[in-house]
C-alpha cells in the first residue's frame, strides 16, 4: 500500500472504485483507532463507532471527486475529517436532545406549514413579511427537493422532521441507531440545502 499510495489516491480521485475500496480498507481501521474513546460513555448505547465509520465510508464514496491528492497522508487526513464531522454531527444532536431541547421540529398543522418550517430550519428562507410570497414558492420547491433525496435520507426527514416522530421510533423503523439517524438527518439537510441552493440566489431569481 505504501508503495502505490499516491497512485491509488490519484486513481481513486479520478473515480476508480476499486482503488478507493483499497484505500478505505487500509486507512479505515486507522481512523477507527483514532476515534476510539471519542464517544462518551453515556452515548455508547445509542451511537457506536460502526455507525460513524459506515457513514464515513458512504461519504467517501459519494464525495471522492472532491478529494485532492496531495501527498501520502492526504487521504487519511481527508477520511479523518469526514469521520470527525459525522461524529460531531451525531454528538451535537444527542447532546441537544439530552438537554431537553428537542430539535426544532416541524409542527404539522398542515402539510404546507410543515414544509415552510422545514425551509426555515434548513435556512433557505426566513419568516419576514417581505418574504412571505417567496416562502410559498419555496414550499413547492421543497416538496420537489424532498423527492430528489435518496430514499434513506427522505425517510429520515419525513419521519423525524415532517411527521414529528421521536428518534427512537425512527430508529426502530429504519433499523438504525439513533446516532446514525442523526447523522443521516444532518446529511439529508445538507443535501436539501444543496438542492435548494443558495437562498438569496434562489429568491433573486
Amino acid at each position: 500500500m505504501q508503495e502505490c499510495g499516491s497512485s491509488l489516491q490519484r486513481r481513486a480521485a479520478e473515480g476508480d472504485r476499486r482503488a478507493l475500496e483499497q484505500l478505505l480498507e487500509h486507512h479505515g481501521p486507522l481512523v477507527r483507532q483514532r476515534l476510539h474513546g471519542r464517544i462518551p460513555r453515556r452515548w455508547q448505547a445509542v451511537l457506536s463507532l460502526d455507525d460513524v465509520m459506515q457513514q464515513t465510508y458512504t461519504d467517501a464514496f459519494v464525495d471522492i471527486a472532491r478529494f485532492v491528492p496531495n501527498g501520502e497522508s492526504s487521504f487519511i487526513g481527508w477520511l479523518m475529517s469526514l469521520a470527525k464531522c459525522n461524529l460531531l454531527d451525531a454528538l451535537k444532536m444527542l447532546q441537544t436532545e439530552r438537554r431537553g431541547k428537542r430539535f426544532r421540529r416541524v409542527d404539522l398543522h398542515t402539510a404546507e406549514d410543515s414544509s415552510l418550517l422545514l425551509c426555515e430550519m434548513i435556512g433557505v428562507t426566513r419568516s419576514t413579511p417581505s418574504r412571505r410570497a417567496a416562502r410559498v414558492e419555496a414550499c413547492g420547491v421543497l416538496k420537489e427537493a424532498l423527492q430528489e433525496l435518496p430514499d434513506s435520507y427522505r425517510r429520515v426527514v419525513q419521519m423525524y422532521d415532517l411527521d414529528n416522530r421521536p428518534v427512537e421510533e425512527v430508529s426502530e423503523t429504519l433499523h438504525r441507531s439513533p446516532g446514525a439517524v442523526y447523522m443521516v438527518r444532518a446529511r439529508a439537510h445538507r443535501r436539501l440545502r444543496e438542492i435548494l441552493g443558495h437562498r438569496s440566489r434562489y429568491l433573486s431569481a
Binding site: E25, R32, T58, A180, R201
Partner: protein
C-alpha cells in the same frame, strides 16, 4: 443497514435482522461494502436531475466536483482532445429562472474574454439536450488558495510570488473591463506546481455595468459562506455604494488575502452580526501586521496596509501597482508605498472617534469656563455677602453708639470691640470702638489706659487710611477733652478735601463726643439726602438723647418709612413716646415690635418699663419674666427689675428670690444686697412679732455686703446708712452732685433708712426728692436703673400713710399697704 459487528443485530435490536440489513459484516470490508451500496443509491439519485454522462455532446462526465447555488461542476473528458475538463452546468428546475440564465451566460461571456495563464480558460459553452446551459473550462489539479496556504505551509518567499501572478491576472481582467468583485480564496485554485488560477466570475461585472452584485450584500443565509465573503468585502461594497466599485475594490480583496497569507488572520474580526462586521470593515483599522506576525518586514506591512486602505484613493490604483510593489519588495528594491503620515493617522482617528473627540473638546472648553464661572460666582457671592454684612454692621453700629452716648459704655464695649474686630476697615466701627474706649477711660477710676488705647486705635486707622479725616477729628476732640491740646481746631464739616454730602456728615456724627453736634451733623445728612435711612435712625436716637422727644417721634416715623427694620423703627418711636410720657401708646407700639422682631427682648423690656410707669406692676412683672428667659445679661437685669414690680405687688418672697439670684450671679456686693436687705426688712415688718429668722437674715445680708463692698465707696456708704451707722443726711451730703444718678440714689436710700428708723416724715421728704430727681435724672426711658429708685420712691409715697398718720410706729403703719399698691392711672412724671 448496518448491524452490530459481534451480534449481527442492530445494537438496540434483539430480534431477527431486518430485510434491508446485510447479513453479517464481520469486518471493516463489510462496512465498506455496505457503504458503497448506499453511496451508489445516493449517487444515482444525485445525478437524476443532471444530464447523463453522454448527454453533453463532445464530453463524458466522470464525476461531480462541486455544487453551488447556480450549478454543478463536473469533471469530464473532452472527447475531441481527450483532456480532462471542468464542466459547469446550470441547475435545472426552479433555479433556471431567466435572470439566473442571463447571469450564467454573462459569466461565460466575461470569462471568454480572458487569455491569461492565471485565469481559468473557458473552452467551450452550449446547452445540454434538456436546455441547461453549460460551459467547459480548464480542469485544475489543485486546491483552494486558503487550503494551499494552510496545508502546504509554504514560506513567505513561496507565497508572495503567487500573489504576483494573481495581481497580474486581476490586472488582465481589469484591462478587459471586468471587475471580479468576489475575489476570495475559494475562487482561486493553486495547482500542483504552485500557480494560481482565478475562477468564478459569476459575480463579476463589466466596468460599464452597474447591476448585479447587490444580491451579495443582501445575502444572509448560509452563514459560513456569507461571512467568508464578507471578510473580503471592501468598505465601498460593505456600505452598498455600488457606484464606488472599481478596480480598487479587487485590490482591497487582494489585500485581505495578502494579509491573511502573512498573518493567518483576517484584517477584521468577522464574528458577530453582519452589521457589526460591516461596521468594523468600514471604520476599524486592521490590526497592524507586525503585531500578529512580528517577523514580517515593515515594508511588506506597508504594502499590505496600503492595499487595505479604507479610502480608495489611498489604495494602489491598480492590481498591477500592487504586484509591482510586491515584486520590488521581493527583489529588495525600494517600494513605492509609504506608511500613512502622522497627520493622516491623527485625522482618521479623530474622524473615527469624532463623537468622543467632540465631547472631549467641549469638556476641555467647559472646564476652564466652569472654573472661571465658579470663581466669578464665588467672588460675587462673597462680595454680596460682604456688602450685606457691611450693611448689617452699619446698622449694628447705630445701636452700639446709642448705648455709648446714653452712658451705657460698659454694655457697648463688648459689641463695639467685636464689630471692630470683624470690620477694621469700617469707619463707623473704628470710631465707635474708639469712643467706647475713651468714654470708659474717662468714666472709671484707674481705667485711664483705655484712653491711650482709643488714641492708638484711631492712629492705626489713620495709618491704614480708614476714614483718616473722621478719625483725626475725633482724635483732636479727645485730646481737647483731656487737655492734651486745645479744643479741636477743626470743625468736622470743614474737613478739607471731603465731599459735602450726606454720607460725610453722617460719618462725622460718629467723630464727635458732643451729642448736640452729632445730632446737627446727622440732621444735615438727612437734609442732604432724605433717603439716608441710617441717618434717620441715628437722628431719632440722638433726638431722644438730646431731650427732643418731638423730633424723635418725627424722625422715627421717617425711619419707619424705609421699612428697613420695622421693629427697630417701632421701638425707637415707642421710646420717644415713653420719653414723651405717652406710656399707653408706647405699650401698644411695643406689642407691635414684639410681633415684628426676631429677638423681641428689647420690646418686652420697654413694655415692662411702660407698665411700671403706669403702675401696672402685674403686667410689668409678666414682661420682665419673659425678659429673664433670654440669655446673657438679660437674666440679671430682668430679675433685678422684676423684683421692683414684685416688691410693689407685695410678693416679697419672689422679690427676695430675684435679688438673691442677682447676688449669686454677680458674686460680689451690689445694690441687690441693699434691696434684699430692705425686702427682708419689709417681710419682717409684715410678719408676726419679731420674726427673728428674717431679722437675722437681713442683718447677715447687710453685714456680708458691708464686708465685701469697697470701703469708703458709694455702696459702702449706702449700706452703712441702712445699718444705722451713717445718718441719712450724711449719705445725701456725700453724694457726688456731678453724678445725678448718685444724687437720686442718695435720696432713696436715705428715705429707706429713715423708714427703718420709723422717721416717716423725713422718709417722705427724701422719697419726694427722689421722685423729683428721678424724673429729672431719667434722660432716656431706656436707662432703667435710675428709674428703679424713682419707681420705688413713688410706690413708697403711694403707700405711706397720710400726714395725719405720721408718728405711727413703723411696724404698724410705715410698711407699704400691699393691697393698695396698684394704681392703674396713667400718671405722667
Amino acid at each position: 443497514m448496518r448491524k452490530d459487528r459481534q451480534t449481527g443485530n442492530h445494537p438496540r435490536q434483539t430480534g431477527a435482522p431486518p430485510e434491508n440489513h446485510r447479513s453479517m459484516p464481520g469486518s471493516e470490508r463489510d462496512l465498506i461494502r455496505s457503504a458503497e451500496l448506499e453511496a451508489e443509491a445516493l449517487l444515482a439519485h444525485r445525478t437524476d436531475d443532471l444530464p447523463r454522462a453522454d448527454s453533453i455532446p463532445g464530453f463524458r462526465i466522470l464525476g461531480e466536483v462541486g455544487r453551488g447555488g447556480m450549478g454543478v461542476v463536473y469533471k469530464a473528458l473532452q472527447l475531441s482532445t481527450n483532456r480532462t475538463v471542468a464542466l459547469k452546468v446550470m441547475l435545472a428546475g426552479p433555479f433556471a429562472s431567466p435572470a439566473a440564465r442571463q447571469r450564467f451566460k454573462r459569466e461565460v461571456e466575461l470569462a471568454a474574454r480572458f487569455q491569461h495563464p492565471a485565469i481559468v480558460r473557458v473552452l467551450e459553452s452550449g446547452e445540454t439536450a434538456t436546455g441547461q446551459p453549460y460551459y467547459a473550462m480548464d480542469y485544475i489539479h489543485g486546491m483552494r488558495l486558503d487550503r494551499w496556504l494552510g496545508g502546504v505551509s509554504p514560506g513567505l518567499p513561496e507565497r508572495l510570488p503567487v500573489f504576483l501572478e494573481l495581481c497580474a491576472a486581476i490586472e488582465h481582467a481589469h484591462r478587459q473591463g471586468v471587475i471580479h468583485r468576489d475575489l476570495k480564496p475559494a475562487n482561486i485554485l493553486v495547482d500542483t506546481e504552485g500557480h494560481p488560477h482565478v475562477l468564478d466570475f459569476g459575480l463579476s461585472k463589466a466596468i460599464e455595468q452597474t447591476d448585479g452584485w447587490e444580491s451579495l450584500t443582501l445575502s444572509n443565509a448560509g452563514a459560513d459562506h456569507v461571512m467568508g465573503t464578507l471578510a473580503y468585502l471592501s468598505p465601498e461594497q460593505a456600505t452598498g455604494a455600488v457606484e464606488e466599485v472599481d478596480p480598487r475594490t479587487d485590490v482591497y480583496a487582494l489585500g485581505v488575502m495578502l494579509y491573511q497569507s502573512v498573518t493567518g488572520s483576517f484584517p477584521h474580526d468577522i464574528h458577530g452580526s453582519h452589521t457589526e462586521v460591516i461596521r468594523r470593515i468600514c471604520e476599524d483599522d486592521p490590526e497592524p501586521v507586525r503585531t500578529l506576525a512580528p517577523n514580517v518586514d515593515s515594508e511588506l506591512e506597508t504594502i499590505v496596509l496600503k492595499a487595505l486602505q479604507k479610502e480608495k484613493g489611498l489604495r494602489y490604483r491598480t492590481a498591477a501597482d500592487l504586484g509591482d510593489d510586491l515584486r520590488r519588495y521581493l527583489q529588495g528594491e525600494p517600494i513605492l508605498a509609504r506608511p500613512n503620515s502622522s497627520f493622516y493617522v491623527i485625522r482618521k482617528k479623530l474622524l473615527k472617534h469624532r463623537l468622543q473627540v467632540t465631547a472631549v473638546v467641549v469638556v476641555a472648553a467647559l472646564i476652564p469656563l466652569c472654573l472661571w464661572g465658579g470663581v466669578w460666582w464665588q467672588d460675587r457671592v462673597a462680595q454680596n455677602e460682604r456688602t450685606h454684612d457691611y450693611r448689617e454692621a452699619r446698622r449694628e453700629v447705630l445701636a452700639i453708639q446709642n448705648d455709648i452716648e446714653a452712658g451705657r459704655v460698659e454694655y457697648a464695649l463688648g459689641p463695639a470691640h467685636a464689630l471692630y474686630d470683624r470690620y477694621p476697615d469700617l469707619a463707623e466701627a473704628v470710631l465707635v470702638w474708639s469712643q467706647a474706649q475713651f468714654r470708659l477711660g474717662r468714666r472709671a477710676d484707674g481705667a485711664e489706659g483705655w484712653v491711650d488705647t482709643a488714641f492708638k486705635t484711631l492712629r492705626t486707622a489713620i495709618a491704614n487710611d480708614v476714614a483718616p479725616h473722621a478719625c483725626r477729628t475725633l482724635l483732636d476732640e479727645m485730646r481737647g477733652r483731656i487737655g492734651i491740646a486745645s479744643a479741636p481746631d477743626r470743625e468736622p464739616q470743614s474737613c478739607t478735601g471731603l465731599p459735602d454730602n450726606a454720607e460725610t456728615s453722617y460719618l462725622l456724627s460718629f467723630a464727635t463726643l458732643d451729642l448736640d453736634r452729632a445730632a446737627a451733623l446727622t440732621e444735615n445728612a438727612v437734609d442732604l439726602d432724605p433717603e439716608h435711612s441710617l441717618a434717620w435712625a441715628r437722628l431719632a436716637r440722638l433726638s431722644l438723647l438730646t431731650e427732643r422727644p418731638d423730633r424723635a417721634l418725627r424722625t422715627s416715623e421717617e425711619w419707619l418709612r424705609f421699612n428697613a427694620r420695622p421693629a427697630a423703627g417701632i421701638m425707637l418711636r415707642a421710646k420717644a413716646l415713653v420719653r414723651h410720657g405717652e406710656y399707653r401708646e408706647a405699650v401698644n407700639l411695643c406689642t407691635q415690635a414684639i410681633t415684628a422682631s426676631r429677638r423681641p427682648v428689647a420690646a418686652y423690656r420697654l413694655r415692662a418699663l411702660a407698665h411700671l410707669c403706669l403702675r401696672e406692676y402685674e403686667e410689668s412683672a409678666a414682661d420682665y419674666s419673659t425678659v429673664v428667659e433670654f440669655d446673657g445679661t438679660e437674666r440679671i437685669w430682668g430679675s433685678y427689675k422684676r423684683a421692683t414690680a414684685l416688691w410693689a405687688l407685695g410678693r416679697l418672697d419672689e422679690a427676695a428670690a430675684d435679688y438673691r439670684t442677682v447676688r449669686e450671679i454677680r458674686g460680689h456686693p451690689s445694690f441687690a444686697d441693699a434691696r434684699l436687705f430692705l425686702v427682708l426688712s419689709d417681710q419682717k415688718r409684715l410678719a408676726a412679732e419679731a420674726d427673728i429668722v428674717l431679722q437675722e437674715e437681713a442683718s447677715e445680708v447687710l453685714r456680708n455686703a458691708q464686708r465685701g463692698a469697697v470701703r469708703g465707696g458709694w455702696l459702702d456708704r449706702i449700706l452703712s446708712c441702712l445699718a444705722g451707722e451713717l445718718p441719712p443726711a450724711e449719705l445725701v451730703k456725700s453724694a457726688n452732685l456731678a453724678n445725678p444718678e448718685q444724687v437720686c440714689e442718695s435720696y432713696y436710700y436715705a428715705a429707706e433708712a429713715c423708714l427703718l428708723r420709723g422717721e416717716i416724715g423725713e422718709a417722705r421728704d427724701w422719697f419726694r426728692k427722689c421722685v423729683q430727681t428721678g424724673v429729672v435724672l431719667d434722660p432716656d426711658s431706656a436707662q432703667l436703673d435710675p428709674m428703679n429708685e424713682y419707681h420705688l420712691a413713688r410706690w413708697r409715697l403711694d403707700s405711706l400713710p397720710t400726714t395725719e398718720a405720721e408718728g405711727a410706729t413703723p411696724s404698724e403703719s410705715h410698711h407699704p399697704d400691699l393691697s393698695t399698691t396698684r394704681h392703674a392711672t396713667n400718671t405722667s412724671r
